[in-house]
Every structure is written in structure tokens, then in C-alpha cells.
Symmetry: C2
Subunit: 129 residues, 2 copies
Amino acid sequence: MRSDCPISYGLDFFGDKWTLLIIRDLAFEGKSFYNDFLHSKEGIATNILSDRLKKLELNGIIGSRVYEKLRTKKEYFLTDKGKALIPVLLEMIIWSTTQQDGLAVPADFLEGAKNDREELTKRVLASLD
Amino acid sequence: MRSDCPISYGLDFFGDKWTLLIIRDLAFEGKSFYNDFLHSKEGIATNILSDRLKKLELNGIIGSRVYEKLRTKKEYFLTDKGKALIPVLLEMIIWSTTQQDGLAVPADFLEGAKNDREELTKRVLASLD
DNA sequence: CTGTATCCTTAGGGATACTG
DNA sequence: CAGTATCCCTAAGGATACAG
């Protein structure tokens, strides 16, 4: 921890180019498995993915369990601490799509509620159950 | 640009440990000058600060002008594109202070409106004029 | 498939000196 | 004071091979 500033505190967790993409996959893309994250379009490397999953779990932002339908696989999921990041991601999406044309909105449920942040968060959370 | 994902797009700008701290200084701390940023408590190095200021200006997130009262100094300010990042920063602050005790809230006007995001953004913007 | 490990290259960044 | 430049080291990350 570099300082007691909340921005700095957040950056200590996800101030890099990859961590939030994993959270995005979990929150918006319905992804739960190592292989899903690995094949996201940005092309994360295996060592980075491995490292970030470990750090995220260590920091209590994600959790993991054995996937019952296929017990060689592990299933990752957002903890409450991780779910609490959804509003941050939503604001990033809003900022980017406002600043730059041609970006893909991650999921359809974002349409039609662009200015209602609370409603957006609620919908994303509901989609996780 | 790694992909057309808005999250990834945002991370291309500020997916590092320092960029958003400069934005924070501009948005919440009333700082405008090189030396102010340099002496923020996280201790940014001169080469990094120089590099980030350049990139931020190149990307249209901040602007700069000669400081009229002392014409050897340059004054930095948030552009509209930069001001549009304030909701992102606010959500980061909310997330961090919710997850971790003992963090310092950057400015007093955040108190008393913790759950009214729109009001918070308005207050921060008003403080910039 | 789910990772780890290794090799190697580049980028990030600290320390410090230096210039206008 | 506002930066640039340099030196040097560490961290990040891509490619690939390998293990359970």
C-alpha cells in the first residue's frame, strides 16, 4: 500500500492492463473458467492469467471451487468484494463509449438504461445468479 | 488499442499505477502544477510524471497553459474528456473506502452524499471552476 | 484442460544529474 | 521551478514447453 488514498488503494489491486479484464469476463461475459479467460480477445498470456487469478483470489476479489460437472475444472466467481467493483467497470464503459465511437458494449442489458447507474448495476448483479 | 472492448479501451489510457493519481490531484486535490504532482504522497518519479503528463495531454485528457502570474510555470487542467473520468474515480473511492477501513477521503465535500453519485460528481465539477 | 515454469525481451520505474 | 536525460534495475509480459 503506497498511501491511505482510496484511489491509490484501488490501483494497488487493479492498476494494470489485465486484472480488470478478468473481472469484466466474470461480470459481463458469463465466463467462469481458466480457458474462457485465456481466449478473450485481448490475448492474455498463461503466466499472466495464472498470476492474476492467484492475486485476485488472495485479495478476496474472486473465489474458486471445483466444477462439479467436470471435476478436473475449477470454476471462478466474484466474491462480494469483487461484485462491488461492477459500478467501477460500468463507469469505465460509460466513459469509453462516450469518448470513442465503435466500441462494443459488453452486453445487451446495458442498452436502454445508459443513464440509470443503479438499474444497470442491479441488472448485472442479477445476471450473476 | 487491444480490442474494441470499452474496459480495455479505458485501460489503454489509465491502466497503470500512476496516471489516475495525476487525475485525482487535478480533480480532488486542487493541484495544477508539476511540483504539486511531484510531491503527492505516493512519490512519483520525475521521469514518470513527465511521461504521464505528456501522454495525458496527447490523449486530450488534460491540457496546459502558461501560468500568467508566474510565466515560467505551466498550469495543467482537466479537459472535458478528463472531467468525464470523475465518476470513475468516485466509484473507485466508494469501492476502496467500503472495502478497507482507515483510508482518507480526498475531500470533505464527499461526506454527506455517499450514496448520491450525481450530486457528488456535480460538486466535484463545481469545485474545478 | 488447468495450470506452472522457463526463457527472453521490453516496459516501468527509482535515483540522480543536468538544462532552460 | 519545470522539466529532460541517463543509468540501471526490477517488474511485466510474450512465447513456448511442460506437468498433473
